[in-house]
Symmetry: D2
Subunit: 341 residues, 4 copies
């Protein structure tokens, strides 16, 4: 059902033109004449009213505004699938009772560091290892990642620790090499509306961790999930990582309300990345607890053995001992909301 509001002085001819247009699409129009405005309610399979039709009706003479009531995403919606989706990766389940923690450095820097961190985070209770081999960096002069070599280090770290791997894809041309080494493929915030990349990972068999764009609305985010799902890959994990606002005390503004909002709108699991969200080491742990209390299914935490030597995002990485402490403190919070960690 959609609603078309006519301008106060829309002519009878304009009104009829719109109704005819709707009928030509197989839709039914019900006209309500108020004292100041006339409204056309659109009945029928309004999923036919896609963006193009909507825009063209909005541009038609006599139309003041068009309001859409149905959500523009379908596969991602709770209406489509009532039960919560759980994403299984080896023995791990994202979206179940257990809060999954995905931990590791921002970038893969070298082999021994990767293995060391993997063992440390595994010991502290992490379920997944993260690390970027292809890195989106704002400067062309910054370290861009080790590429396939980095993926190999990740694979070795998986072998040594038993932890499945989450790593980022930046380019459709890298899909084969990323698929070869990863267990979960990450779409970074800056690529949330890289639609071609979404279609490519939509054809992959690997689960996708879809980060929210810096200025993406929750609706746009779910539309990006829909892109992936429309190609057949239903294993999408949403990751809140902070949005851009006027506040500069934190790197981004972590939008934890997105967790309960998403839980209502979609069946997909939701995880939170407080490291990028806040960007300051000492505030990661309180925000991780808050995320779990708000109902998140998992956490993404940057851990580095030597943050002051990290090739990226050192400022927001926890040292292994701080990570261990955080994991310990998370346990009672998880239990308090009926989860485990």
């Amino acid at each position: 059902m959609d609603i078309i509001v006519l301008k106060p002085r829309a002519s009878e001819k304009e009104k009829k033109h719109i109704i005819k247009r709707l009928e030509s699409l197989g839709l039914e129009a019900t006209v309500s004449k108020g004292t100041e405005r006339t409204i056309i309610g659109v009945i029928g399979n309004t999923s036919k009213v896609n963006e193009e039709v909507e825009n063209s009706i909005r541009a038609a003479a006599g139309v003041e505004t068009v309001m859409r009531i149905l959500k523009p995403y379908r596969l991602a919606s709770r209406e489509f699938k009532k039960t919560a989706t759980t994403v299984k990766v080896g023995k791990q389940v994202i979206g179940g009772k257990k809060i999954c923690v995905i931990a590791g450095p921002c970038s893969v820097e070298n082999q021994s560091m990767m293995v060391e961190i993997a063992k440390e985070v595994k010991k502290a209770g992490a379920s997944f290892l993260r690390g970027g081999a292809f890195k989106p960096r704002t400067s062309p002069y910054s370290f861009q990642g080790l590429g396939e070599e980095g993926l190999k280090y990740l694979a070795l770290a998986r072998e040594k620790s038993g932890l499945p791997i989450v790593t980022e894809i930046m380019d459709p041309r890298d899909i084969d090499v990323i698929e070869k080494y990863s267990d979960v493929i990450q779409i970074g915030a800056r690529n949330m509306q890289n639609f071609r990349l979404l279609l490519v990972v939509g054809e992959s068999k690997k689960p996708i961790l879809l980060k929210r764009g810096l200025s993406a609305t929750i609706k746009e985010w779910l539309m990006s999930a829909e892109y992936i799902m429309s190609r057949g890959n239903m294993n999408v994990i949403l990751c809140e990582r902070g949005i851009r606002t006027f506040e500069t005390a934190t790197r981004n503004t972590l939008d934890l309300s997105a967790v309960p909002v998403l839980k209502k709108l979609t069946h997909l699991p939701v995880v939170v990345d407080p490291s990028h969200g806040v960007g300051i080491m000492e505030h990661v742990s309180p925000m991780a607890k808050a995320a779990v209390a708000a109902g998140a299914d998992g956490l993404v935490i940057e851990v580095h053995t030597h943050p002051e030597e990290a090739l990226s995002d050192g400022e927001q990485s926890l040292r292994p001992d701080a990570f261990k402490q955080m994991m310990k403190e998370l346990k009672p919070v998880a239990q308090a909301v009926g989860r485990e960690i």
Copy 2:
């Protein structure tokens, strides 16, 4: 300590002019000459470099930018007072081990409703009763509050329930009547930079609940606390209530990161209002839990016996039974972070 960065082609004369200006203020200047820029470090009691001096130096010939390192607030800062401030109101303490819950309707509507809600929230474990007698409303045609009559109903509800009262002031001319009936005076989000009002409540003996402005940075918010404290009233409670962003799925974006950030910058207690922050009844409880997990000292929760008949903000009010349920669920979360409720 402040830093003045000169333009690449600033002249010797311009440089000397600035140094002389600094020296005339009793400050010392240290010049560092880099390969591309010259920098003047300002040493001494730079609190003398107030906004006016800063702006005028910024406007001086040859200056590219001025960077301030010291915080512009003093009384509100952790440097000024290392220990956490606790605000005592009767038997209640805000900022102690116990999470204080301030509950009640948005507006005071009538006497029996006020008394009924007061008893209900008291029974469920609230520590304070809230309710507005003077209401800031975006429309001049909306209900503007009952005024002194509303304050009397609040006082009666306090008598019947034993709960101290939090109520909002909107106008310096109302200070006497507000002081007469209230236990804590609220400054609403839209008045966070109503500086005259801040000065007036700064001279009051009552504690002040200072809500964050819709687009206020944390620094500006602390400057508003400083206004109040500069007049002698040290009992300021900061209340995060959501900021304005591009996201429309929630009424505002509740910035929970503000809690740990404030805990580091200031000694003042911090409470969170998830009702206004999110604006949707069913998401209040998860965000209340998240606030407690993030380290908040208290919560402000809208409760109404008949939300669908409320004269304001019905959509975000909890019914007493939902409030009771929330309080029950908050208990283990508070314990998980070493607090009680």
Copy 3:
């Protein structure tokens, strides 16, 4: 006309309850049943559906959302008054063919400076003199203005230059003294939703320059104009002065699109303040030209004889010669869009 969208599984009883509620308000309900949602169109004098009723309907069982179609402001709307409002002050007219330029320092600092600047801006073609005697400052330790003494200097400068005066009110208690000396009363950005102050100036006979709040939507801004107009003062001038966004290269983001948008929604004159909007001296002139090209009825420009000694906002003030140059360059731009200056 308003629209109430019911939840997919709203019961017949819930639907009837809402319809009864509407009928009790003297409104008519038309029900449209779509394949997935039922929609209730509200017909009749929906101005009765004020904020309270709207919120309570939104909180009623079975309701998914409420959409309002009519604008919540009436007196400020183009529907209410089709012809453009012109505000007359002495021989000056704001909203006519001539672009009015309101120029002067941020703060009144001393008598001779005020008279000097007044003469300079008059000579360069300004129509009004501005200057603050009561200054809203983020820090309690900053210069707060000279108060009545400053107003006297402004009056003297008016006498010497012939320019009418625009000055800011911050506190309802100052209305008498402000009215005594000013020709136009300014409501600053931070007080745009200081509703009590709006009501006070709504009862004044002086025209009001209403600055847009830092994070105010255009709709909220017009609601604040409506507050003033609802008390009988129809001479409201809207002033765009930049909104708060994530961008830090400029002090605020000057939203020039607000000019054509307002011209369509309201009959009130619209002026633009590029000095506060951009906050950087050298960018004031291009943005002033852009404002005129976009259709603004006037400009507010900070001018100071010695910006580097200004007690506030020196960084964004033009020197008289730069102001003169800007006025010269504005002339052909004004002519290009059928105006004069």
Copy 4:
């Protein structure tokens, strides 16, 4: 030159550790000890202090904050190249005295429409034809563009009208086909930080029209230009197209201040797209005039012969007659600021 501010209680050892780190990078450190903070000025070729080094210093013990003074972009900066860059395409020059107008539909829809629009906009004075064959759409169910077929229609329209073509690339894998047909390659707002795509077009011989990201700061935007230029392609045209803010009256908030700000920071030409910026047909013309008055080197305008049948963005497209009228009205504005059109 960079500045490192130490924490109030940073130890001597921590300070020395940082100085040693700087010296190991071939940099010199000058220490200024204030009464409350110690500051380390970094002298030498601080371009060695890239993001990694900066982050790691920020994460080092004893460090409060790091401030960078030099701009992180080099090739794009005015310091690097003082004279304005002009981009030549056939007989057209972007960045010269003439304001270049790039006009056409959002999407290429069919052959006859493309040819018709091309002839119309040419006649009205446009310098370039735009049209998307690959379309980034928020919904996977929306029209995604005609692909190569659309490029062929564009080429035909160029042949018939003589206008060079601007068209968007979305995927590195499309570079060959896009290069084959286009004269200027567009990077859309959503791909501004698709870094791999930037590197690919950085190796192209075609000029690049780089749209600003929805929530990109001006600095980030210039860093994306730097990505392209770092690969050798110096012909980058910056296009302001509106940023995302809280305001919903317009589709985006057109940030015209970006024009003078960019003119100071960079030598690259700057154009403005008021169609996407405002998103409402009737406001395109005033904002186009404002853009020219602010100093823009060109405009991007959506023109469609039948907006109400457009397959995308119909609401913001001008009809040819409205476009012709706008071009006529732009002429005196361009002259008023010393340009022609």
